[in-house]
Amino acid sequence: MTGIALHHYLALSAILFTIGVVGVLTRRNAIIVFMCVELMLNSVNLSLVAFSAYLGNPTGQILVFFVMTVAAAEAAVGLAIIIALFRNKQTVNIDEINIMKW
Amino acid sequence: MTDILTYLIFLPMAGSVLLFFLKKERVATLKVLGFVFSLLTFGLSFIIYFAFDPSNAGFQFARRILWVPSLNISYYVGIDGISLMLVLLTTFLTPLALLSSWKSIEKRVKEYTIMMLLLETGMLGVFCALDMFLFYIFWEAMLIPMYFIIGMWGGENRIYAAIKFFLYTMVGSLLMLVAIIWLGYYASTQPNGRFTTDLLQLYSIAPAVPLTIQTWMFLAFTFSFAIKVPLFPFHTWLPDAHVEAPTAGSVILAGVLLKMGTYGLLRFSVPLFPDATIMFAPYIALLAVIGIIYGALVSMVQTDIKKLVAYSSVSHLGFVVLGIFALTEEGIQGSIIQMINHGLSTGALFLIVGMIYERRHTRMISEFGGLANVMPLFATFFMIVSLSSLGLPGLNGFIGEFLILVGAFKSTYLSQWFAIFSSTGVILAAVYLLWMYQRVVFGKMTNPINQNLSDLSKREIAVLAPVLLFIVWIGVYPGTFLQKSHNTTKHIISVVKQYTQSNLTHSDTTR
């Protein structure tokens, strides 16, 4: 790991996380929103692995496995719900999913 | 005998539980039962009246049961001279109110009677509670039946009036709750102290609270009571509630509920925080005087009789507050008797307005005129009650207002201008009441509909006569009532003197 220090990883992770958050806030297609959420989770994974290597303790990497598994489960449920909604409304655009407001 | 107050408080509630199980179609039974229960309560309070020992300035018939051990809260009731008078007023007015609504309340009689009885329990609880937590529970719980009485059986704008009444009272009382809890914790910081809401213990603890904090505590309590009284800038809920409430509701509202505010001032604000009381006395008295004059002036321009009576309450209660904050024996005695007077005469005025409203379904002064010809009995009663309300010597109103003015004049805490300015209130009262009376009762019969009005029925006479009896009794021989509260008043004044912090430190050195 010569040349690449912990803070590089952390900076990358922060950038990826921010991209993910911005994506969630701005994109209108539900599927892309989910991909952005995945991006957030993976940026966390990156920082966990980096911390783990830096601290020399494996807990962080174990966390990553769990996060990946849970993310998969969450994505599965999310996609199922999108399908259910698509059957009702024929759209996955978030702006059109607005029966309920304030 | 030790439990007699508990029986008194919960007898109306027992009645309402019984009524709950009756079929709502049995209107007559419901009415009679409700009336009987309120009469029984009155009878019980009569026993208490005779058993009460006026030479004892402390709390009598006290009963204390530990309720929440962890917070040291107890069910603690007892009465002294002040509470006695108000308990009697409550038990006296409730049956009259029920009787007065015999005809006017036709829908949902069952709910109505239950609410009135629950309300009576709440009011009696407020006047008897000696634990602040218990007091607060009754104080708040009583709002619910009153909300429904105004909201269900009131006039056109009843829903607005009911919620306004509820919200106003709630704002004040929650701040009071904060102050109560704070006081409880303050007690626990004392040597060997623990959390307590016991009023008697706090009487000796609270006056030692540092003045800056005492100021906040005093304001929190007083704000809550001032809304209830209502003191001048907080009075805006009152005309709405009074005008929209059904007759019986107005009678109870004016007769008893407003007294809860002045009672609270006398029971909590003044003796708990004597230093803050002395500090704020001129300001509160100023608000009271503004209330007296403002209420009178606004009454004068009303076109609706009920609204006129409602605003006159603001004026009359101003006198009561002035008397309390004069902090003299005459002032406080006058206030106590004036609370009773206002309950009787304003209650009677509302009854009279209700009777005329039942006949004509309007309360506009301009609709009437010359009623003396068709309703002579009505005119006579109306005359006496109006005169009592404006303070004619020989009737009850005079005694109260006179004592208050003397008290304010002699007060060492208030300047004499307070008494002088507030005496204009008496003159204005004569103006607006007599002017209204003249337009309604005298003169030519201008409106032909009024030709066929029937005079008072036997039931209506039965409602008004007892009130009249006391109006005259207090006016001619006030001693009967004054002696009951005499020692208690002396005691309060001595407490204020004794516990002001300058005296506290002083007596420490001499001891």
């Binding site: 952390l10 992770s13 996380f17 993910g20 958050v21 969630v24 539900a30 989910f34 959420v37 957030m40 989770l41 966390v44 920082s47 966990l48 911390f51 830096y54 601290l55 303790n57 807990t59 174990i62 966390l63 769990f66 996060v67 969450e74 449920v77 999310g78 199922a80 719900i81 999108i82 259910a84 909604l85 009702n88 409304k89 978030i94 607005n98 309920m100 304030w102 | 929440v68 051990p69 962890s70 529970i137 708040e140 719980a141 619910i144 429904f148 909201g151 269900m152 009843r158 829903i159 009911a162 919620i163 509820f166 919200l167 709630m170 704002v171 929650l174 701040l175 709750l177 904060v178 809890i181």
Partner: protein, 499 residues
């Protein structure tokens, strides 16, 4: 090591019982093809067995199991009871819900998911490891996503579900980021280790603050605190009433339990000894409770103010539940056991009054098909029993004596006043006044207005009355006789790792 595992498994009996029930229900749904209520009764049986095991735990003292993954202590047991009681009641509600039982929908999965959700909440109450926190939050979240959209042919239900997933995923992502920062800062993932690292080491407070703000995103989402509340109104409105009621009580309780444990154990400064009457201190210069105080004020104020404009009762109760989360957060802010005890007391009270309000809404919706406030016009006369019950629940939610809600608020206010948080108490008190306004709006429609169209009384059965009374009696009784509840709550504040 083996010994530790054996010991741990013994203390995992309630969770095991729930997991077994879950599996049985899942298999049963595959085997039994016709529509029946068998699953519901089996689920209830499973809950009873679980309750039995939890009762045993109540006397087993304070333990930490699976190498500091989960704490089994009085604190978690208290919340387990709250959660069990609400799941039990929710299953009973579901049996009577027309919304769920209409059509040909089979409910085996539904009940199994309720059990899974309960399991997740159980784990949340005891979670003492960041990983366990994340996993238990995800277990509850994923189960509730599905449940919120269970009536999937209804447009608003699936919409609610989608919004829930998106907000949920984002918050858990943020929380995870906080977890990774905390791990990086302290090198530990269990809260005891974090506390030790914070006590010993020199930690960058700025980074710690950011990490805990990110953690709060996760907790805040579970307890629907502002500004993580956006999902709440939509999900509460769109989801079946039973699920809304469940989320508003149990899920919130679990979120609070986890949050209180995390903040108290991780950020407790052990060097500052017994301050006074069970008060404790957080690390020098790290005042996370100020952050929570701000969130609390925002939460209750926004919840109450927006609730005023709602006409759909489910949505109104959603905002009201946001406001109640704000009140309860006040108890966490004080940094004293008294405050935490107040939250515990409030939850018991809230369980009965809030479920009661939702149950009434459900009965009315069963009959009228509407959750709109207009449907309540004249209800007090059409069906006095329901009208009176709803009145008591609403007055209790407002906090008017002598109902249980008042006792809840009393203890919260008392804790705050003792902790000298006067401004917060005053804001709380004013908020109660605001809440009075919209609760009374429902009362007004029930009693002071007459219905526009002719409306018949709502029929209800013996079972309805029984459940109503089960909710109603504690709501009144706890307002008058609350000594034992208070003592139990105060005795339940013992968390593992703290004396």
């Amino acid at each position: 090591m083996l010994e530790q595992i054996v010991h741990s498994v013994k203390l995992l009996q309630p969770e095991t019982a729930l997991a077994v029930t879950f599996c049985v229900l899942l298999v049963l749904d595959l085997v039994v093809r016709r529509k029946s209520n068998l699953a519901a009764w089996l689920a209830l049986l499973g809950l009873v067995v679980t309750a039995f095991f939890v009762l045993q735990q109540a006397s087993s003292g304070q333990n930490s199991i699976f190498f500091n993954m989960l704490a089994v202590d009085s604190f978690s047991v208290f919340f387990k009871f709250v959660i069990l009681a609400s799941s039990f009641l929710i299953i009973l509600f579901s049996l009577q819900s027309d919304e769920l039982n209409s059509g040909t929908r089979r409910l085996g999965e539904y009940y199994s998911l309720i059990i899974a959700l309960t399991l997740g909440m159980f784990l949340m109450t005891g979670a003492s490891n960041l990983l366990m926190m994340y996993l238990s939050i995800e277990l509850t979240s994923i189960s509730s996503y599905i449940l919120a959209g269970y009536t999937k042919e209804a447009e608003d239900s699936s919409e609610a579900s989608l919004k829930y997933v998106i907000y949920g995923a984002v918050s858990s992502g943020m929380m995870l980021y906080g977890i990774s920062m905390l791990y990086g800062l302290t090198g530990a993932v269990d809260i005891y280790g974090i506390n030790r690292a914070l006590t010993e080491g020199d930690i960058n407070l700025m980074a710690l603050m950011i990490a805990s703000i990110l953690m709060v995103a996760g907790f805040g989402y579970k307890i629907s605190a502002v500004p993580f509340h956006f999902w709440t109104p939509d999900v509460y409105e769109g989801a079946p009433i039973t699920i809304t009621a469940f989320l508003s009580v149990a899920s919130k309780a679990a979120g609070f339990a986890m949050m209180m444990r995390f903040f108290k154990v991780s950020f407790l400064d052990p060097t500052v000894g017994n301050l006074a009457m069970g008060a404790w201190a957080s690390f020098q210069g790290f005042e996370w409770n100020q952050l929570l105080a701000a969130i609390s004020v925002l939460t209750m104020t926004l919840g109450n103010l927006v609730a005023i404009w709602q006409n759909n009762l489910k949505r109104l109760l959603a905002y009201s539940s946001i406001a109640h989360a704000g009140y309860m957060l006040m108890g966490v802010v004080v940094l004293s056991n008294e405050g935490l005890a107040a939250v515990l007391i409030y939850f018991v009270v809230y369980l009965f009054m809030n479920l009661g309000a939702f149950y009434t809404v459900m009965i009315v919706a069963n009959k009228t098909g509407s959750e709109d406030i207009e449907a309540y016009k004249g209800l007090g006369y059409r069906t006095p029993l329901i009208g009176v019950a709803m009145t008591i629940f609403l007055l209790s939610l407002t906090g008017i004596p002598p109902t249980a809600g008042f006792v809840g608020k009393l203890y919260l206010f008392a804790a705050l006043i003792n902790g000298k948080w006067f401004w917060l108490v005053v804001i709380g008190a004013l908020n109660s006044v605001v809440s009075l306004y919209y609760y009374v709006r429902i009362l007004r429609n029930m009693f002071l207005k007459t219905p526009e169209r002719s409306a018949e009384p709502i029929q209800f059965s013996f079972a309805h009355v029984t459940i109503l009374l089960v909710l109603l009696i504690p709501t009144i009784l706890l307002g008058v006789y609350f000594g034992p509840l208070v003592e139990y709550a105060q005795a339940s504040l013992v968390m593992f790792g703290i004396q």
